[in-house]
């Protein structure tokens, strides 16, 4: 069938060689209409028997109107989504060097394990006796996370990194409430280089953000922190390694200073990949830290999620962790779902969970005597837990440490291979798992960071993270991860060098119109924001109505 939708009115679709095609397709790059254009309301791709007539029990709430949903038969639906998928870049197809995102290989074993009916086909509210294996899995993953980070306990329910930040900051708020200082300690210190979720989380929990500048080498100076510490400070939110790819070398001193001033230390653990097995956040003085299972432990990012953001907690905060949590007693693992229950159980004293690891005398996962509440309807991202545990079991303690080392090695290899051409905002020093360049070297060349990134697309690469962190002008943050072979890194480096030479040679052509070989050229983002079209409508033909060329 010839597609009549999804194309502009005039035949402006030129192929790379300037050739027009009747369909607007370009070989394997196929234009695809919206389901609302190709589907029909009377078509369905699911065979269901009409039930025998019944007298409904919907009261006054029966639907009277049409929904407006088109259907596709199975072959049409499969083709639609396969064609859409072909317009995407993916880690399976090539290096995906998005700094801060840790786009590493996603093992298919993990997918297979998450799909075992024993994990995928169980209900969160089944009698606990019927889900012993699921509880055991969560407990085992908790143990790995606690041992890896050297912390006291872990709250498993947060659904992503930002949700984990909220969890950690709520635990801090609860601790302050318990101390009677929640009203006076309202300031949270956040370095300028922090990810946007950090300040957004702090205000959302009712704190006020105060920014802390970095010193010339891109890290935080303990003196700058100390200068801002007083009894109005609730906490500091610090990313380590930080978003410039640097280890915060004053971290232990900062932790000590914050603790001394009566505050707490929240660590953004998005960059745990650099240090797992090399040092433990618990030894650095961290009170709470989220772990993005979808970064460090490779649960696939899925085009924007789902993720999972368990939060490890110090002994100062463990008691405030939210429900639900696991407790091991003589009867085995129990899922505690209500704060009151937690209190009741605590009267049992010795029945509390046994130490599995961590500091002597501690409980595990945690007693949560004063659970601050609940973050989500059920027990967290079980599907991600299975994948993460499969990943961790596969690597083992040795493989995880090797992964961290290879990630750091690869980032430094890129740094060393590009340092003569690109500029680094804080000088040329060893980095951790990601290397940060800025746009100083592009000055006067008529090429911006954005142009450079788009030219990488024409070369078949996904660009690095750009314009983040904000502390570097025109930032380019490259995180190769441990998943790339040397050959892959070498081609990536050679390509960037070739592009950089073009910049030097004044070949702006290569950048300003890029990308020209991708499924789409640059988009009119201003138009998207000025006149938002956020869903398909019948009248929506305001945009060039597509038809094949005559």
């Amino acid at each position: 069938m010839l597609m009549t939708k999804g194309r502009p009115a005039q035949a402006v679709a030129l192929t790379a060689e300037g050739r027009r095609t009747f369909t607007s397709n370009r070989g394997l790059s196929i234009e695809e209409g919206l389901i609302f254009e190709i589907g029909r309301p009377e078509v369905t791709g699911v065979d269901l028997e009409e039930p025998a007539p019944f007298e409904h029990r919907l009261g006054a709430c029966e639907r009277e109107s049409a929904i407006g949903l088109p259907g596709l038969s199975e072959p049409e639906a499969v083709r639609h989504y396969v064609r859409l998928s072909q317009k995407n870049y993916s880690i399976d197809a090539g290096i995906y060097p998005l700094g801060s995102c840790t786009m590493k290989h996603n093992p298919r074993l993990d997918e297979a394990m998450a799909r075992l009916p024993g994990f995928a086909d169980i209900h969160p509210l089944q009698p606990q006796s019927t889900v012993a294996g699921a509880l055991e899995l969560i407990h085992e993953l908790s143990r790995w996370l606690v041992v890896l980070t050297g912390m006291e306990a872990v709250a498993m329910s947060p659904k992503a990194g930002a949700h984990g930040e909220a969890c950690g900051m709520m635990a801090i708020k609860a601790a302050l409430l318990a101390r009677g200082e929640a009203a006076t300690r309202r300031i949270v210190l956040v370095p300028e280089s922090a990810h946007g979720t950090n300040p957004a989380t702090a205000t959302r929990i009712g704190f006020e953000v105060r920014s802390v500048p970095a010193r010339a080498d891109g890290t935080l100076d303990v003196a700058e922190v100390k200068a801002r510490l007083d009894d109005s400070v609730a906490a500091i939110m610090l990313t380590n390694p930080n978003t410039c790819g640097l280890f915060e070398r004053d971290i232990a001193l900062i932790a000590e200073a914050v603790h001394e001033a009566g505050g707490y230390f929240y660590c953004d653990g998005a960059n745990l990949n650099a240090i797992m097995g090399k040092c433990r956040p618990g030894d650095l003085g961290v009170d709470a830290m989220h772990i993005n299972l979808h970064k460090t432990f490779s649960t696939p990012h899925g085009g924007g999620g789902p993720g999972a953001g368990p939060v490890v907690l110090s002994s100062r905060l463990a008691r405030f962790a939210p429900v639900p949590f696991l407790r091991r007693d003589e009867a085995g693992l129990q899922l505690v779902e209500h704060a009151q229950e937690a209190l009741d159980h605590d009267d049992l004293g010795p029945a509390r969970s046994k130490v599995v690891s961590g500091k002597p005398g501690s409980t595990f996962p945690h007693p949560a005597l004063e659970a601050f509440g609940r973050l989500t309807a059920f027990h967290g991202q079980m599907g991600m837990f299975v994948r993460a545990l499969a990943y961790m079991l596969s690597h083992g303690a040795d493989g995880l440490r090797q992964a961290a080392e290879d990630a750091v090695l690869s980032a430094n290899y890129i740094r060393a291979s590009l340092r003569d051409l690109l500029s680094q905002p804080f000088g040329d020093h060893a980095c951790m798992h990601e290397v940060l360049f800025d746009d100083h070297w592009l000055k006067g060349a008529g090429v911006s960071t954005l142009d450079f990134a788009k030219a990488m697309i024409d070369e078949g690469f996904h660009p690095m993270t750009i314009y983040f962190p904000l502390v570097a002008h025109g930032a380019m943050l490259i995180e190769p991860t441990e998943s790339e072979s040397k050959a892959s890194l070498d081609l990536f480096i050679a390509t960037i060098r070739d592009l950089a030479h073009s910049v030097r040679d004044g070949d702006t052509e290569r950048f300003q119109h890029a990308p020209s070989l991708a499924p789409r050229r640059r988009l009119d983002e201003t138009r998207a924001a000025r006149t938002p079209v956020l869903k398909w409508t019948k009248q929506g033909a305001a945009l060039p109505s597509p038809s094949p060329r005559r």
Binding site: G71, K87, P117, R204, A377
Partner: protein, 448 residues
Amino acid sequence: MRYLPLTSEDRADMLARIGVGSIDDLFAEIPAGMRLGDLLDLPRHKGELEVERLLRGLASQNVTAGSVPFFLGAGAYKHHIPASVDHLIQRSEFLTSYTPYQPEIAQGTLQAIFEFQTQVAALTAMDVANASMYDGSTATAEAVLMAHRITGRREAVLSGGLHPHYAEVVRTTSRMTGDEVVTLAPDVLAREDLCACVTEATSCVVVQSPDVFGNLRDIAPLAARCREKGALLIAVFTEAVSLGLVKPPGEMGADIVVGEGQSIGNPLGFGGPYVGLFAARQQYLRQMPGRLCGETVDAEGRRAFVLTLSTREQHIKRDKATSNICTNSGLCALAFAIHMTLLGEKGLRRLASINHAHTIDLADRLETVPGVEVLNETFFNELTIRVPGDAADVVERLAARGVLGGVPVSRLLPGQGLDDLVLVAVTETVSEADRAAFVERLEEVVRC
């Protein structure tokens, strides 16, 4: 290690290029006393076979929904998922891509999100929908915060029919910010008078339909009352399939609609990952949380899609953002979109009818069980039944007889004197034989 491509020779070459003698030179910034010398006390790496054996062992200890007559709901529902859904979401290009920050090479994800937003808006009869939230409960908490921003008021009223865990998530967030929450008592029979609770101080009223006890609620009068008092009406659903048969909240005057989308395309999965649906009226667009995908054109004038209105979001607005959400439930939203596309209008309506018909049948059969009472006057696919004795005990004994027979209300609402109630959900996956088995086993259990 099978996932690590670098060889020792590669590593040596790379260290030489970098100009350091050993890998530990690159970790020199870690304070000396804190560097780990030995491996952590965790097992060494394992082959696929061993990992699979271990995890299969754990999986086999769980009773799966598909292996027994199964009647659990209360916010998570077992529906049949067409095989093509899971096949398609495992396409590398969907599964292993990041959030579509480079739209020229992410049109697949972006177009799918645009279609998803349109589907959700149609289903709820609302103007705009976002690209997804973590789940229904977190979407509800976000909706309350959004209502506070819009109204400038700080008091939310929660219906006694709202899923108790959703209510707890809202209360937890509010406790942190010092906002007020009025939670009505558990409302098993949908008799509460929410209109009477709306005052000039009310920011929003949160009401669920079908509610957690299975009752349907005509929220139109409440919407009128909210409008009169300048409050917003937030409508919640946990069973998306219901919207095939039930009047959509947008038609009854809701200002914000949030829901759990798990029912369409996503497995039970012990509670996650799920997909939160979030829709609102057009005038509130700029106060919405989360990502939005919009239509535009590229440099050649071809239709294209892009993440837009990001000036609401954390990476631009930082401490002034409408929400802190970054990663959402992209792949679960895709599963929802694909399943919904396969169903279409016709399929969704039929699926909803089957669910409803099966539930009517079970309700009729339960009427015949001595001592058991169905409490609902109206329902879609979930009932509250009263059993003689302790409901948790009844459910355990049913499990021992090979039937997963529902959720005891006391599991969600302990200590509220509702210990004799069970929530029972019936979907298309429940066969006639399953319904017969349930009634038979229940009869045995309540008799002894």
